[in-house]
Symmetry: C2
């Protein structure tokens, strides 16, 4: 590949020139420091990406006595054998974090979900992104003891003073989804709700309830155990929802496979989607573009979450002030045929 | 999540019992040692996964003076800004390698594509999986100098004695795809061929040519520059193929976005897929299930490749003999509407 051999490693100045900013701004953008608009930061990172600029921060970190390595921990389910890398949200989060770290000259190590304390205490890391902290999270306390700079992906259940996190704007996300469903004709929108001790289900539940109150619509919720097998558990929960009289005209699920689970339950009840029932879920799973029918999803933008988290963590490691320590990522709606209304009224059984 | 708190870390014996094998076999399966059938190995890993068994190999590695860390390097495009984590094959390879390492009690670090030698020389790693080695690969030489155990993903262009690799059975894969196209009625199957100095395009080209010779069918090949922008370059190459008289009745692309590129070129020529032209590509991209029409793909099984590579690397690190040092992964065909024949004869322009 001659082209790449001829290619010259670009300078900080080349990136600055391409982005039309100062070299100081480039270095701020790459180190997550200073006060930069999101637009500028993204423009600089894009320029660096286009030119293949690789900062030597890891070398600098080593020189400083750091390791140049960031850790990403996914322990939301403790020791349970959860195949994180097969769950689209976590997969995209991990890949996004790896490339965000590389863009800024750091390495990133995804840690296993297993909770062996020696690992958190001994693996050399300059800082850690801790995903979905739970109530009384053992890893969170360990890392705090060890004094490792830590950014939480997701607001901790009981935040301590000084906790730093990237959160997702669930209120706005749920509003997008619920408004979309009402525009499609839904008036009885149900929520299939997992029981778990991270904040995610609670935050979604609260956003759903307050939207319903605001719009003077009923809250229809069925809970299910998220472990060990949420597939069966959620199908049964949705089945209970569909047995209600009057039954819901839309069902929302909040886990990656919820859309498949809801479609299965609807099929079991002889309901056609979207004619008899609208279906949507919060998921990053590309498969929903090819289901029958394709299912509307709300994306939590793990790519943006990981980028913000790495950015913030590197700022913490470099002990920079003037950075926003609580960042908020906006979800995005992908409307598909499963919510193409208006829904047919009636009891909907064949 | 009370359930997970109550959950007890399983023992080696528990895994052995569940898999119906001896504890020695479990340890062989996890350390990639001994002579085990693939079935047994998979059964043990499945049992370990189900029980959430996390071996303490990393702790043992540290005790041995190792780091317990494996590296994965993707440098096929040198310093060029290739967003590996956004390319489905590399994304699945990285995620698969991370989880395969975790299953065996190791950590895995994905290295940036940038070629800063200090990194390869200084980052502590017990061994490295080197993806798509190129001719005169600088990273490969560096790692050999450093004496780091290395497994290549992909047969190196000029293998040295003692090189260890996991390869993909391209001959069988191409045979699957080409037989499928002829069954759909194709007789003039064209190949859109990128120019690059890793082995992949050459191996595919050879497999294609020998199949055509065997079946007494013409080889129709157009080459394009894989860098910097293979989207435009491949559309133009396919366009040249479709301008031939008689024109091809099927086109195969070998990069992840080739299917999209070929569909675009076919549209530009007013050809309907599959009526006027069959389209297929080698890709792991789930989006092809939702394109118009859905595109037939050949999967190179990055999940299996990464699993074999991690398995083999850990065997090397533990200096085990009796392991097969050249492993072969079988591709899998996903037939979709873009190859549903028989294709209509004629010049195909509207």
């Amino acid at each position: 590949m001659r082209s790449s051999r001829a290619w010259q490693r670009p300078t900080l100045g080349a990136v600055a020139a391409r982005a039309g900013v100062s070299t100081a701004t480039v270095s701020n953008a790459l180190n997550g420091t200073g006060r930069l608009s999101e637009t500028t930061r993204q423009r600089v990172l894009a320029a660096a990406r286009e030119l293949g600029y690789a900062p030597a921060s890891t070398a600098r970190a080593l020189a400083r006595g750091g390791t140049g390595v960031l850790g990403l921990t996914m322990t939301a389910y403790g020791d349970l054998p959860v195949p994180y890398t097969e769950i689209p949200y976590y997969a995209q989060l991990a890949l996004g974090a790896i490339s965000a770290a590389h863009e800024r000259g750091y390495l990133l190590m995804v840690m296993p979900s297993s909770l062996s304390p020696w690992m958190w205490l001994n693996t050399p890391m300059d800082g850690v992104i801790h995903v979905d902290p739970r109530a009384d999270d053992p890893v969170r306390s360990l890392l705090r003891e060890r004094g490792v700079p830590m950014v939480c992906d997701g607001r901790p259940p009981q935040p301590h003073w000084g906790d730093v996190w990237v959160d997702i704007d669930y209120d706005t996300g749920l509003r997008l989804l619920l408004d979309h469903l009402t525009e499609a004709g839904a008036r009885r929108i149900a929520l299939s709700q997992p029981l778990h001790d991270n904040e995610y289900p609670h935050l979604i539940g609260r956003a759903y309830a307050s939207w319903c109150a605001e719009h003077d619509l009923p809250t229809l919720v069925e809970e299910y155990a998220s472990l060990p097998d949420y597939f069966t558990a959620e199908r049964e929960a949705v089945s209970r929802l569909l047995n209600r009289d009057p039954r819901p005209d839309a069902v929302i699920g909040i886990y990656s496979d919820s859309g498949h689970n809801i479609l299965a339950a609807a099929g079991y009840h002889g309901l056609r989607v979207p004619q008899d029932l609208l279906v949507a879920c919060i998921s990053e799973d590309a498969d929903y573009a090819a289901t029958t029918p394709p299912v509307t999803t709300l994306s939590l933008r793990p790519d943006r979450v990981s980028d913000e988290a790495v950015d913030l963590l590197i700022a913490l490691i470099n002990a920079r002030t003037c950075v926003d320590r609580h960042r908020l990522v906006q979800p995005v709606l992908a409307p598909r045929r499963s919510t193409r209304g208006p829904v047919r009224r009636g009891n909907g059984t064949l």
